[in-house]
C-alpha cells in the first residue's frame, strides 16, 4: 500500500518534444492518498493510459518524478515497483490453470510453494474463483478472466496499488454492474490504493471517491463526483460529466448582467464582481437540471423556442433555441412543458461563468 505522488510529470512520445502539443501529458502534479479509490476520467486520447503506464513503470516520463510513499521510483521498472495492472482486455496465461495463473506472480518472486498456495486460495475465495482453480484459464468467460487478471495483482501482499485500464470494456452490461460492485467490495476489504481509468462517467462516479478529469493531457479537475457535477472548474468537466452535459452560452458582461446575443441574464453579485477584471472569452454555464422552463414570462425570464422533447423515462429532455444557442433542460415527467415557446429562468446560485474555459470563482 502506498501514497502515490506525481511530481511535475510530463510525457511525450516524440524523441525531441518542442511545442506544447508534442506532449501527450502536459503537466501532472498530483497525489493519490494511500488506500484511496480514484478514477481517471476522460475521453479517448486524453492521456489517461499514458499516465497510468507512467505510474506502473511501463513508461518512463520525459519529465518529472514519480514517488511511492515519498520514495522515488521514476526510473524503476514495473517488476520492482510492487504495482499491479489490470488491462482493458483480460490478459491471461492461456496454457495455465486458473490456479497457476494466480500463483505465477508469486512464483516469479521465489515465494515458497506453501505460502503461494495459502495466498492463492485466499484470493480465489475473495474473487469467487475457487470452483475454477483447476480449470484452464483460456476456457472461461470474459468476467472470470478479468477477475483472474485482477487476482494476479491481489495475490501479491506487498502490492502498492492496483491500476485498472478500462477493465470493464469487454464485459457484458449485466456483469459489468456485478463486477464493479465486487471491485468496490475488494477495495473496502483490502484497503488498497485503486486507480481506475475509464471514459465512462457512470463507472468513474460510482466506483471512485475521488475523480480526476483529464482533458488534452492535463488533469482539469479533481474532486468528488458531487463537486465535479455542481462546480465544474473547466468547461470540459461541465460538458463531459452529466447527461446531457452543461449548457454554455457565450456572453459579455455588463454590471451583474450577462448579455447573450441580445438577451440579458441576471447573475449572482459576487460572481459578477469577480468576473469584471477577467479578460478572455466569457461563457455562461448552467446544468440542464437547474435551467428553469416556464410556460409564461415573468421576472428575469428570457424567451426561447422549443425544438424537441425527448422522453427518458422519469424525466424529459427539452431542446431549446435561444437566439443562435441551443440549450438543453431536463425536467421531471410531471412538469408540464409548453408547446412552442417557453420562458427560461437562470437561478443565480447554479449559473456559472467561465473565462477562457476556466470557472470564475
Amino acid at each position: 500500500m502506498a501514497r502515490i505522488e506525481l511530481n511535475e510529470v510530463a510525457h511525450s512520445y516524440l524523441p525531441k518534444p518542442v511545442k506544447d502539443s508534442d506532449y501527450a501529458l502536459k503537466r501532472i502534479h498530483n497525489v493519490w492518498e494511500d488506500g484511496a479509490a480514484c478514477a481517471l476520467l476522460g475521453p479517448s486520447g486524453c492521456g489517461k493510459t499514458t499516465l497510468l503506464n507512467i505510474v506502473s513503470g511501463l513508461l518512463i516520463p520525459s519529465k518529472g518524478r514519480v514517488l511511492y510513499d515519498g520514495k522515488e521510483v521514476t526510473a524503476l521498472p514495473p517488476e520492482k515497483r510492487n504495482i499491479a495492472q489490470v488491462f482493458q482486455f483480460p490478459v491471461l496465461y492461456d496454457t495455465m490453470s486458473v490456479y497457476n495463473n494466480l500463483a505465477f506472480p508469486l512464483r516469479n518472486r521465489g515465494i515458497h510453494e506453501k505460502a503461494v498456495r495459502e495466498r492463492v486460495l485466499e484470493i480465489a475465495d475473495i474473487l469467487d474463483l475457487t470452483d475454477f482453480l483447476k480449470k484452464r484459464a483460456a476456457g472461461l468467460a470474459a468476467d472470470a478472466k478479468q477477475k483472474i487478471s485482477l487476482g494476479r495483482g491481489l495475490v501479491r501482499s506487498d502490492v502498492a496499488a492496483i491500476l485498472f485500464d478500462e477493465p470493464l470494456t469487454v464485459i457484458d452490461p449485466q456483469l459489468k454492474w456485478h463486477l464493479r460492485r465486487k471491485l468496490k467490495e475488494i477495495h473496502e476489504k483490502l484497503k488498497l490504493t485503486f486507480i481506475y481509468v475509464t471514459h465512462d462517467q457512470v463507472e468513474a462516479l460510482t466506483f471512485a471517491d475521488q475523480v480526476a478529469v483529464m482533458f488534452e493531457g492535463e488533469i482539469v479537475q479533481i474532486g468528488s463526483p458531487q463537486e465535479l457535477f455542481e462546480n465544474p472548474e473547466h468547461r470540459f468537466v461541465g460538458y463531459f460529466i452529466g447527461s446531457p452535459g452543461m449548457n454554455f452560452l457565450e456572453c459579455t458582461l455588463e454590471g451583474n448582467r450577462a448579455h447573450v446575443n441580445g438577451t440579458e441574464i441576471l447573475l449572482d453579485e459576487t460572481t459578477a464582481e469577480k468576473s469584471r477584471n477577467k479578460k478572455g472569452n466569457l461563457a455562461l454555464g448552467i446544468r440542464p437540471m437547474y435551467l428553469g422552463v416556464h410556460p409564461n414570462p415573468g421576472g428575469d425570464r428570457v424567451k426561447a423556442d422549443i425544438r424537441m422533447v425527448e422522453d427518458q423515462g422519469n424525466y424529459r429532455i427539452v431542446t431549446l433555441k435561444l437566439g443562435k444557442h441551443t440549450l438543453k433542460a431536463s425536467l421531471s415527467e410531471e412538469r408540464p412543458i409548453p408547446e412552442k415557446e417557453a420562458w427560461l429562468s437562470f437561478p443565480t446560485e447554479w449559473t456559472r461563468l467561465f473565462a477562457d474555459g476556466w470557472l470564475i470563482k
Binding site: N53, S56, L58, P77, P78, E79, I83, A84, Q85, F87, Q88, F89, V91, Y93, D94, T95, M96, S97, N100, F104, P105, N108, R109, K134, K135, R136, G139, S149, R152, G153
Partner: protein, 291 residues
C-alpha cells in the same frame, strides 16, 4: 420460417466441382486404376488386384527410401522450427530494419526450386564452390558431396534449411507481432523472466501459426523432389534417394505404371496419416479443460 430447397443452387457448386475433378479426383482415379493393373501397352492391361501393393510394401528399396525420408523430415522439423522461431524473436519490431529483414529473409523463398539445386551444386562443388573448395583447401576438411554420403546429406540439409527456415521465421514473426502489447506489460508486472514470457505467452500465442508451419514443413519436406534431384540425383549410391525420387525412378524412368501407382497411393496415405496425427496432436495441446 420455412425454407424451400432450391436445387438450382447446385449449379453454383458445379464450377468448383469441375475444377476439383480435373485437378484431384480424375488424376487420383487414374492412379488407382494403374495401381491395380499390369499395363503392357496402350491397350494391353490385366487386372492384378493388390499385387502391386504387396510387392511395393515388401520392397527393400522402398523401405530404405521411407526411413531416409522420415530421417530427413524429422531433421528438417527439429532444425527449422526452433531456428525459425529464434530468427523471428531476434528480428527488429519496428523501424526500417523490419522491411529489410523481411525482404532478406524471404529471398530464398522466391527462387525457383531447381535453381536452388543449381545454386547449391555450384556453392558446394569441391573444386570451385565457395563452400566445397573452402572446406577442402582453406580448412583442410575433406568435403565432396558427390562421393561421400554424409557430405551429400549435409549439403541437402543445409540447402533445405537455407531454403525453408525463412517460411517458419516469417510465420513465427507474424504470430509474434499479433500478440497485444498488454501481454508483455502484464508479464513484466508479474515479474516473469524472458524465458517464462516465451514459454507462457509467446509460444502459446504462436501455436496457430506454428501448427501451420509444422504441417507445411512436414508435408513439403516429405514430398521434396526438385532440389535433391538437381543437387545429388539421389546419390551417391542411393544415399539421398528420397521417396519421391524413387517413385519417379519407378514410374517414369522404368515406366512401371502399376507399381508406381501403388507406390503413389501408399505415399499419399502416409502423408495424409501423419499430417492428420500431427494436426490432432497440436490441436490437443491448445485445447482441453484441464492442464
Amino acid at each position: 420460417m420455412e425454407k424451400w430447397p432450391n436445387n438450382r443452387a447446385w449449379l453454383l457448386v458445379l464450377p468448383v466441382f469441375v475444377i476439383v475433378a480435373f485437378s484431384a479426383i480424375i488424376p487420383l482415379m487414374t492412379v488407382i486404376n494403374y495401381s491395380v493393373q499390369d499395363i503392357f501397352g496402350p491397350n494391353q492391361a490385366i487386372f492384378v488386384g493388390f499385387e502391386w501393393f504387396r510387392e511395393m510394401l515388401a520392397d527393400k528399396r522402398l523401405h530404405d527410401a521411407l526411413w531416409r525420408q522420415f530421417l530427413f523430415s524429422g531433421l528438417v522439423l527439429v532444425i527449422e522450427m526452433p531456428l525459425g522461431i529464434l530468427i523471428a524473436l531476434a528480428m527488429p519490431k519496428k523501424g526500417w530494419g523490419v522491411s529489410l529483414c523481411l525482404v532478406t529473409i524471404a529471398l530464398p523463398l522466391l527462387i525457383p526450386w531447381n535453381t536452388i539445386g543449381t545454386i547449391w551444386i555450384i556453392f558446394t562443388r569441391p573444386d570451385i564452390g565457395l563452400f566445397g573448395a573452402g572446406m577442402n583447401s582453406l580448412l583442410g576438411i575433406p568435403f565432396d558431396h558427390t562421393a561421400r554420403p554424409l557430405d551429400a546429406w549435409i549439403t541437402v540439409m543445409l540447402m533445405e534449411v537455407w531454403h525453408w527456415t525463412p517460411l517458419v521465421a516469417l510465420l513465427a514473426y507474424a504470430g509474434l507481432r499479433a500478440i497485444p502489447e498488454a501481454y508483455y506489460q502484464a508479464a513484466r508486472i508479474d515479474g516473469a523472466s524472458a524465458w517464462s514470457t516465451f514459454l507462457y505467452i509467446q509460444l502459446p500465442k504462436m501455436r496457430g501459426v506454428l501448427t501451420i508451419a509444422f504441417l507445411l514443413r512436414f508435408m513439403d519436406s516429405f514430398l521434396i523432389y526438385a532440389e535433391p534431384f538437381v543437387l545429388t540425383g539421389g546419390g551417391p549410391g542411393n544415399s539421398t534417394t528420397f521417396l519421391s525420387l524413387y517413385l519417379v525412378k519407378i514410374a517414369l524412368l522404368q515406366f512401371d505404371l502399376g507399381p508406381g501407382g501403388a507406390f503413389s497411393l501408399i505415399y499419399f496415405v502416409i502423408v495424409l496419416l501423419f499430417s492428420f496425427i500431427f494436426y490432432q496432436a497440436l490441436e490437443r495441446i491448445g485445447k482441453g479443460d484441464k492442464v
